[in-house]
Structure formats: structure tokens, C-alpha cells
């Protein structure tokens, strides 16, 4: 981390701080590019035996799925929350959009529960702190998404389910002091497990497209393996830049459109803290990065490995994601998730409406707004 401080009223210092930051970014990008070039040279080198990588080559070509006679489901949820005096409010809704493809063209669309998914209101009276409240709100949204995703997976003919975001609950803590969160978390684990089971039973591919991944596991693998096993001739400084690189930042210099990385296991140890509650499903969670369009960063894709051949599953998922995400040169997200996102997007006015309706039914003395919302000026 770098920090720059400057006294108020000294724009010259600010200017210098900005210059310094830009120089640093340029330098890091240059080094990442060099690493990318070196990594490109490893295209044909077998990576067999590299721990955590599922496939033998670092970069793999992806074949675009023809999208013929296929149903693909995209799931997304919307969330708005507000802390009030003595009460916290959460508004959520989720939708599963099912695109029907015929001969590579969209032939129809279905929506679960409907194209106008109903709002669900959760009121929280328990005295959660602000962070716990944010966690709870996130869990409620995930629960809503998992519910519609499972309902979609139970339908006939669905080829794949794409979640907007990760396919695992990403909670490091286990909330020892908050029974409410523990209870919701348990429900969440059950919901994830149920979705995995349903998909596995019905042979539906389950994957998640992470819009703006902050993951760095792939870089970690590279750091470990490149120096130890391949002894690549990189300067020390070049290596050090990896410490400051997320996966997508580095891979933007490596992957070309239509390429993906080797799939890798989600966590170094299946029983690591994030996956520890998923039991037998933990080792089946894998991920890869794919470049779907020229002017967007690589997309992190997570998937549930349901069979013996993880590489084949990764190919199938990548092929589908590539076909669904390559329409817009600057925005490489699957179209079915774009549609789901548009359906569940909530406006601030929706929350105001609920809050005002509550206020209307209360005594005028029972103010709901926090003091920060009632500033006189």
C-alpha cells in the first residue's frame, strides 16, 4: 500500500502525489506486461504436476459454443438497505432469467418468479453493528438468489445456471457474537448445498461470473511455481510487482480474446476457512479466467465440477461463457446476466416508498430517520 499526504491548500503537493502515483502505475503495468510476455512463452510447456492447476497448460484456447437448442439461466439479485432509528430495513429481490437459444439466436426468454420480481422486505430489530448489518443484507440477497436458482435448476431442459458472482459463500468469520447471522449463515450453507445437489442431480452446469474479481489466487500459484519450478529469468522487481497484482490485472497482459487460463481449485486447501462449511462440495469448486472481448478485462468464472473430468467441465463452461459474453467489445459479461441484472435493479425511490409507508403508519413522534438524515442544512 502507498499513501500520500498533503496539507490542505497545497495543490502543488497534490500534483506531485498524482504524478508519482501515475508513474508507479505505469511502471507496474510495464512489469506486468513483461511478465505476461514471459508467461506467454510458457504456452507449450507442460505444467503437469503444478499443484492446484487442473490442466497442463497455462493458457488454453476456448471454442465458442454454437448456442443451438439450449436453455441458459442467469441469476441475479438486487439489494437496498437502510439503517433507521431502532430498525434496519433490507429490500431484496432476485430473478432467474432463462434464455432459449436456437441456431445461435435468442428465441425466447422466461423469468422466475416473473419479469417483475416482487420485492421482499426484511426488517431487522436486533442490535447489529453496521458491519454485521451489511453482512446480513448480503446473506439475504444470496438466499433470494439461491432460491430462484434452485427453482430454475429443477426445471427441465436447463443447460447451465450462471450466478452473478461467486458460487460459494465468501465469509471468513463465523460470527461468534451474532446468533442472527449464525442462523442466516446456516441457512445459506443449506441453500448452497441444495443448489449444488440439484445441479449435480439434473446435470446442470453451475457457474458464477464474477464481474470485478479481486481474487489473487492465480497470481499466488504463479508466484510459487514460476520461480521454484521454472526458474524464469525475471528481475526481482518484476517478481515483486506480483505482490501488488490481482489476477485480472496481471492476466490482462497474458490472455487474448478466446483464451482462458488453466482451471484451478478455488482454495489451496479444500477445508480452508471459506469453504470449510461446504463439506464434500468444497474440492469441487474450481475457477478460471477467460478473456471474452478485446476491450474488457478477463472474467473470473467459478464452476462446480460435477464429474470425473474437471478439464472437460471447464472447457464446457468456458465455451458457453465465451459465446454468451462476446457481443460487446468493451463489456464481456454473459448477456443473460445483463438481463437479470436489469430486472432486479432497485432504485433508491423503492426504499423511500417503503420507509415512508412505515412512517405514515406511525405516531409522528416516532422518528425513523437517523440524525445524519435530518441535517437542517
Amino acid at each position: 500500500m502507498n499513501s500520500s499526504a498533503w496539507p490542505a491548500g497545497f495543490p502543488g503537493d497534490l500534483e506531485r502525489a498524482l504524478d508519482s502515483m501515475v508513474e508507479r502505475i505505469i511502471d507496474q503495468e510495464r512489469r506486468r506486461k513483461r511478465i505476461g510476455e514471459v508467461l506467454s512463452g510458457l504456452g507449450k510447456v507442460s505444467l503437469a504436476g503444478v499443484e492446484d492447476l487442473v490442466e497442463k497448460s497455462l493458457v488454453r484456447e476456448v471454442k465458442r459454443d454454437p448456442l443451438s437448442d439450449l436453455k441458459v439461466c442467469g441469476v441475479d439479485g438486487g439489494l437496498l438497505d437502510q439503517q433507521l432509528h431502532g430498525l434496519d430495513l433490507i429490500l431484496i429481490r432476485a430473478v432467474a432469467v432463462i434464455f432459449h437459444y436456437r441456431r445461435a439466436l435468442l428465441n425466447g426468454a422466461e423469468y422466475l418468479p416473473s419479469e417483475f420480481p416482487p420485492l421482499r422486505m426484511v426488517d431487522v430489530a436486533e442490535p447489529l453493528d453496521a458491519w454485521e448489518f451489511q453482512l446480513l443484507a448480503g446473506m439475504e440477497r444470496q438466499l433470494a438468489e439461491l432460491e430462484v436458482a434452485t427453482e430454475a435448476a429443477e426445471r427441465d431442459g436447463i443447460g447451465a445456471i450462471l450466478l452473478d458472482g461467486s458460487i460459494v459463500p465468501q465469509y471468513v468469520e463465523r460470527f461468534p457474537r451474532s446468533p442472527v447471522l449464525v442462523e442466516r449463515y446456516q441457512k445459506l450453507i443449506q441453500a448452497y448445498t441444495k443448489l449444488y445437489q440439484t445441479c449435480a442431480r439434473s446435470g446442470v452446469l453451475l457457474c458464477g461470473a464474477v464481474k470485478d474479481s479481486r481474487g489473487a489466487r492465480f497470481v499466488e500459484i504463479l508466484k510459487r511455481e514460476l520461480r521454484d519450478k521454472f526458474g524464469l529469468s525475471l528481475e526481482k522487481e518484476d517478481f515483486s510487482v506480483l505482490d501488488r497484482s490481482r489476477d485480472t490485472v496481471l492476466l490482462n497482459h497474458l490472455l487474448q480474446v478466446g483464451q482462458r487460463t488453466s482451471a484451478f481449485t478455488y482454495a489451496e486447501k479444500p477445508a480452508s476457512y471459506v469453504l470449510s462449511d461446504l463439506g464434500p462440495w468444497a474440492p469441487k469448486i474450481c475457477a478460471f479466467y477467460i478473456k471474452t472481448v478485446p476491450f474488457d478485462r478477463p472474467l473470473r468464472v467459478e464452476f462446480l465440477d460435477q464429474g470425473e473430468d474437471t478439464a472437460a467441465t471447464a472447457d464446457r463452461v468456458a465455451s458457453l461463457i465465451f459465446a454468451l459474453s462476446s457481443h460487446h467489445d468493451g463489456f464481456g459479461l454473459p448477456s443473460v446476466i445483463v438481463e437479470a441484472d436489469a430486472c432486479v435493479r432497485l432504485a433508491e425511490e423503492d426504499l423511500c416508498l417503503v420507509r415512508d409507508s412505515i412512517s405514515d403508519r406511525l405516531e409522528p413522534s416516532l422518528f425513523l430517520e437517523l440524525r445524519r438524515e435530518k441535517k437542517p442544512f
Binding site: L106, A109, H327, H328, D329, E339, A342
Partner: protein
């Protein structure tokens, strides 16, 4: 009750042009990638008109709640709200966007007079490169012409930039009677921004014109009539000037052309030119407009552009009423011969009498001194007293058995009189002789008004062959006064006097000498309602119509008017025409009218029905016109040969 003033289509997938372009870059439409069609919504903006209360429609005092359900108004509610009649009224067409017949209450429509105001003579919505023939012979793009005029100063209203200044006294050619071209001064130059689709019409002669689809052109095949450009198809023939150097005043005919070719001669001034292609052209920018004096068309890109009118429908409706419904008589002063077809139509011929203008006679014994003073505004008090003396003498002799007298008798008695100054006497004689030269004065009236002005009947006075405006004004002044007095004495039924080109008969701002019929028409406008004597004023130049008369017309039927000069004049004469309504008038399509005022509770837009009777006699068949022209040519040649 609310009036939908605007409709908007929206779709979340088409909010960002660059995203649409990007997704469609590979050739697939957005609908092949996203279910975009599903997210299209039609949004209406509505203006609240009133609320259905216990005592009928009441003024709304607060807006409806957001989210309240709306539904399309039922016919019964519309009738009640708009003040229409479910049956037995004057059916003029259908309510726009509803298939609801618009039947207006006869009493409300006519009792306080009616004005039918059509578009003034302006070729609207022309593309800037369209060439206009100035009467100097110069061809100039309309864009250049108007931009040049506006550069010297302009007014802006309702999105229209315009000027009435014409310091160079520019004039253009317009189409007059008998398909002859004549010069007319430009009264206003206007332009407005337009974004949409124009039509480019290409002709067999090589000419072309770009204009909006609702702009009318004179179609010649079949019956000659003005039709919207959007209705024209390849193979149709439209009018184009047939000059070579007409602009220099020579009026020389164009070289003869083969009739089998794509254009042929219609009159010495006009060619029929065949449309070979009609192409839509996307256009964004200014479109241009000229207002032309005393005309309703002008020549642009060698084509004639024009507009249409409405009033015949109302006449037909009145003629179709039963005695039980109450039938006023109708008298039509038909300047263009547009109503003579009524007498030839089997559906109306038994109720219509046509009187040619040259058969019209004014019975001198029926002309009062006041009327003589109207006809001869220059007359002094002394001369009037002398004329009064002569008239009284002649009336006395007539009553004693000498029989009716004529204008020659009056002139002879004035000449023989010795009570006045000789100079004044000579002047009076001269003026009377001048009146006599009009050839319309006789011993008795023709028609016999009490015999032809009958309930449910129409008298059409065909003035189409009459060129003298003064003569027409004298006729109209006499007829109007005669009718009004007869009505006051209950000798004729309630009547509707229809005045085509009403601005010719009650012009604004003209001297008494040039507006002989104005005062009597203003009198009927003011007092007619007490005696059920109604006026229907039809004008394509409302700006030239007397404001006194126009403001007494409590119902206005307004067809498309784009000229800001005319719009402003109408607005001044009617409080009901707000700026919003004026903006709507300027975008009215062909065949639609705005009805506003006494006849309706709220301004309504109506798709005017087709007239059932034959159109004007000038709607000639093209082939017949061509044959007649050739016949006339050969006759002239034969005559010339015989002479030689």
C-alpha cells in the same frame, strides 16, 4: 377526463446509442441477443380536462394520484364530455384516435356563426434545396431565399422562425383558375427544424422535389385533386408549370411533347408530369415555408404545392336533415365552383339550385338608399338625398301602376333632376353608370329569394366565372342584406350563408370602397344569432379576414395552418386557442381538423369524412382536358387556314 397530448415509446435496451451500436456491430439485431422487445413501453402524457362529478363534468382542482388506473373513454362519456350528439347532429367525421362519429349540435354549431379556416397559401415543409421560381424568372433554392430574408431579422414562435418583411417585393408564381399561373407577392418567409423522413419524388421530366409526406401536390390522373405526397405512387401524374421563359412574362409554351412520354400538356401554363420514383430520405435540419398573397399554392421545383378544404361536408349534412330535425336553408357564395357538383349528385340534386353569377340580378326597386350608399361609398349626403328623392318618386310611380323600374330609370331621373348642383349630379350619374356597367341590375331580383331559400334546400351562387372582385362584393352585399331582412320578417327560414374566400368579402383593413360587403356581413355577424341567420366563413387567408367578423364566429373549424402570421391572427380572435393548441394546428395532417368553440365543450381533433357529392367542376379528367386542349388547337388552326 384527460387528453393525450404526447406519446413516447421507451425501451431500456435503447437508452444508450453506443451500447446498441456495439452489440449490433456483428450484424445481429439487439433482439437476437437480449429480449429487448419485451421491454418496450408506450408512455402517454395527458392533460387533465375535467372530472366527472355529480353535476356533469367539473373542473379538476388537483391532479389524479400516481398509479391510478386509466381507461379509454367510452363513447357515451365522450359524447357527454365533448358536447357531441349521439345522433341527429351534423356528422363531420370521426374523433381522432377514436372511431367515434363526431355529430355536432346544429344549433351550437351555426347559431353563433362558424369559421372554417384552412391553411394559408404556403408550401410547407420543403427541403432547403427545393428551387422556387421567382416571378422575375430567377430560380432560387427556398432555403437560400428564406435564410436570406430571416437574416435581416426574424420572430420566433412555436419553434417557427419567420419574418413578414419583404423589402425586395419578391413574388412567386401561383396556380389560379383554369390552371393558369399568375404572380403573387410573398407575405411571409418561415423555417423550422425538422428531423425525420422526407419524401423525394422524382418525375419523368427529370424534376424532383423533397417534402414531408403530408404535403399535398396536385394529382392529375383520375379526378384532379390535391393529395398528400405520402399517397402518391409511381405512375401518378402531378402538375408542373409548362414554361420555357414564363418568368420573363412571355408565357411562351414549352416545346411540344409526346403524350406517350412521361409528361404532357394540360393547359398553356401547365404540364402533367409522371412520378417515376418516390424515395424516403432521412433528413435533419430546417424545412422551409412561404406564405403567398391571396393564394393557396406556389411553384416550387417546377411543381405546384397546395392544401385542401372542408366546408362541403357541413353543407351535405344540412341538406340531409329531415323536417323533424329542423332544416335551415343554405346559400353558398361559391367563388371556385366547388359546390356546383351538389346539383349534379343524385343524392342532393333535388334540393340544390345553382345560379350562375351572370344570371344573378339585383332588382333595383328592392335596393334601399342605404344599400346604394354601400355600393357607392363615395356618395355625399347631398347626392344621397337626391338619389332618395328619385327612388321615392320611382317607387310611387311603380305603385301607381307604372311597374318596376331599373337602374337606367334611376339614372335618367337623376340626370333630369334640377334640385342639385350639376357637378354633384354628374358625379352621381357617373357612379350609377359605373354600377350599371356591372350588368347585374334589373327590374326584379333573380333569384326570387323567397322561392329558392327554402328549408332543407341550398342555393349555390356560382361566382367562379366572375373576375371582378367589386362585382362579387356587390352581389354578396345585396344577397346578404336581402336574406337578413327577409329573415327578420320571417319570409325565409333560418339560413346559413356560406362564404367561400370570406376574406374577399369582409377583408380586414381595407377601405369602404374595397370592402363593399363588409358592413352587412359584420351586421349579420353581430345580430344574426337573434334571427337565426348564420354565417359560415371559409377562408384560407384568415389574416385578411375582418377581426370583427372572425371574433363573432363562435365556432372555428381549423385545418392545417402553418403560417405563423395566420396562426397569430386566429389566436387573437379566439381565446380558446392557446399556444399549445396553435402548435397542434401547425402539425395537423391532411384531412384532419380542429374544432374549437361553441359547438364543442372542448377543442377536438376530427378526421374529416369524405364529401359524398361530386367535387368541384374543376376536377376534370386529365384525358378529357388533353382532348379538349387539342380540339381547341385544331379549331384555331382551321380558323386561321380559313381566314388565310
Amino acid at each position: 377526463m384527460a387528453f393525450v397530448t404526447d406519446l413516447v415509446k421507451t425501451n431500456r435496451y435503447f437508452m444508450r446509442a453506443e451500447s446498441v451500436r456495439e452489440y449490433e456491430r456483428r450484424g445481429s439485431p439487439l433482439s437476437a441477443i437480449f429480449p429487448a422487445d419485451r421491454w418496450e413501453y408506450l408512455v402517454a402524457r395527458a392533460q387533465v380536462l375535467g372530472v366527472q362529478g355529480e353535476h356533469g363534468i367539473e373542473r379538476s382542482t388537483f391532479p389524479p394520484s400516481p398509479g391510478e388506473k386509466v381507461s379509454v373513454a367510452e363513447p357515451e362519456l365522450l359524447w357527454r364530455f365533448l358536447g357531441l350528439r349521439p345522433s341527429g347532429g351534423i356528422e363531420v367525421g370521426k374523433l381522432r384516435h377514436h372511431e367515434l362519429p363526431v355529430q355536432l349540435d346544429l344549433n351550437r354549431l351555426l347559431r353563433k356563426h362558424l369559421a372554417v379556416l384552412a391553411m394559408s397559401g404556403a408550401g410547407k415543409c420543403l427541403a432547403p434545396e427545393t428551387a422556387v421560381h421567382l416571378s422575375t424568372g430567377e430560380l432560387i433554392p427556398i432555403g437560400e431565399l428564406v435564410d436570406g430574408a430571416l437574416a435581416r431579422g426574424k420572430e420566433v414562435e412555436g419553434g417557427v422562425e419567420f419574418t413578414r418583411e419583404n423589402p425586395d417585393r419578391l413574388s412567386v408564381f401561383t396556380l389560379g383558375n383554369g390552371f393558369r399561373l399568375r404572380r403573387a407577392a410573398i407575405k411571409a418567409f418561415a423555417r423550422r427544424n425538422f428531423s425525420g423522413r422526407l419524401l423525394k419524388i422524382r418525375l419523368g421530366s427529370g424534376s424532383w422535389i423533397s417534402l414531408t409526406s403530408n404535403h399535398p401536390l396536385l394529382r392529375l390522373n383520375g379526378k384532379t385533386r390535391w393529395v398528400a405526397a405520402g399517397e402518391l405512387r409511381p405512375g401518378d401524374e402531378i402538375a408542373a408549370p409548362g414554361w420555357t421563359d414564363f418568368g420573363k412574362g412571355a408565357a411562351a409554351p414549352a416545346p411540344d411533347v409526346d403524350l406517350g412520354h412521361r409528361f404532357s400538356r394540360l393547359s398553356p401554363d401547365l404540364l402533367a408530369d409522371e412520378i417515376v420514383r418516390v424515395d424516403p430520405v432521412e433528413y435533419s435540419g430546417y424545412v422551409y415555408d412561404l406564405a403567398v398573397e391571396a393564394s393557396d399554392n406556389f411553384v416550387a421545383n417546377d411543381l405546384i404545392v397546395h392544401n385542401s378544404n372542408f366546408a362541403a361536408v357541413i353543407v351535405e349534412e344540412i341538406l340531409s336533415r329531415s323536417p323533424e330535425q329542423g332544416r335551415p336553408a343554405t346559400v353558398i357564395m361559391d367563388v371556385h365552383g366547388e359546390y356546383t357538383g351538389l346539383a349534379e349528385d343524385p343524392g342532393f340534386s333535388d334540393r340544390v339550385v345553382v345560379l350562375k353569377g351572370d344570371e344573378f340580378r339585383i332588382g333595383v326597386p328592392n335596393v334601399s338608399l342605404a344599400q346604394f350608399r354601400e355600393f357607392l361609398p363615395e356618395m355625399s349626403g347631398v347626392q344621397a338625398r337626391e338619389l332618395q328623392r328619385v327612388l321615392e318618386t320611382l317607387h310611387a310611380e311603380s305603385r301607381s301602376g307604372r311597374g318596376p323600374f331599373d337602374l337606367d330609370d334611376v339614372i335618367a331621373r337623376v340626370e333630369g333632376g334640377d334640385g342639385v348642383n350639376k357637378q354633384l349630379q354628374q358625379a352621381l350619374v357617373s357612379w350609377l353608370n359605373d354600377l350599371q356597367s356591372l350588368g347585374i341590375f334589373d327590374r326584379a331580383d333573380n333569384p326570387n329569394w323567397e322561392r329558392v331559400v327554402l328549408p332543407g334546400r341550398a342555393l349555390v351562387v356560382d361566382l367562379s366565372d366572375m373576375t371582378s372582385l367589386r362585382k362579387k362584393q356587390v352581389l354578396v352585399a345585396y344577397a346578404a342584406r336581402r336574406l337578413f331582412h327577409s329573415r327578420k320578417r320571417n319570409r325565409v327560414p333560418p339560413f346559413l350563408l356560406c362564404l367561400e374566400e370570406a376574406h374577399q368579402f369582409c377583408p380586414a383593413g381595407e377601405s369602404k370602397e374595397a370592402a363593399i360587403s363588409r358592413s352587412v356581413l359584420e351586421m349579420i355577424a353581430r345580430e344574426g344569432r337573434k334571427f337565426c341567420a348564420s354565417l359560415m366563413l371559409i377562408s384560407q387567408r384568415p389574416v385578411r379576414l375582418s377581426t370583427t367578423v372572425l371574433s363573432q364566429a363562435n365556432t372555428n373549424v381549423i385545418l392545417r395552418i402553418t403560417n405563423p402570421y395566420d396562426l397569430e391572427h386566429i389566436k387573437q380572435s379566439s381565446e380558446a386557442i392557446t399556444s399549445e393548441v396553435a402548435a397542434m394546428i401547425s402539425s395537423l395532417p391532411v384531412g384532419e381538423a380542429l374544432i374549437i368553440g361553441e359547438a364543442v365543450n372542448y377543442p377536438i381533433f376530427v378526421k374529416v369524412r369524405q364529401r359524398r357529392s361530386r367535387g368541384p367542376s374543376s376536377e376534370i379528367d386529365l384525358e378529357e382536358a388533353a382532348r379538349e386542349f387539342e380540339r381547341r388547337g385544331s379549331r384555331e388552326e382551321d380558323d386561321a387556314r380559313a381566314f388565310l
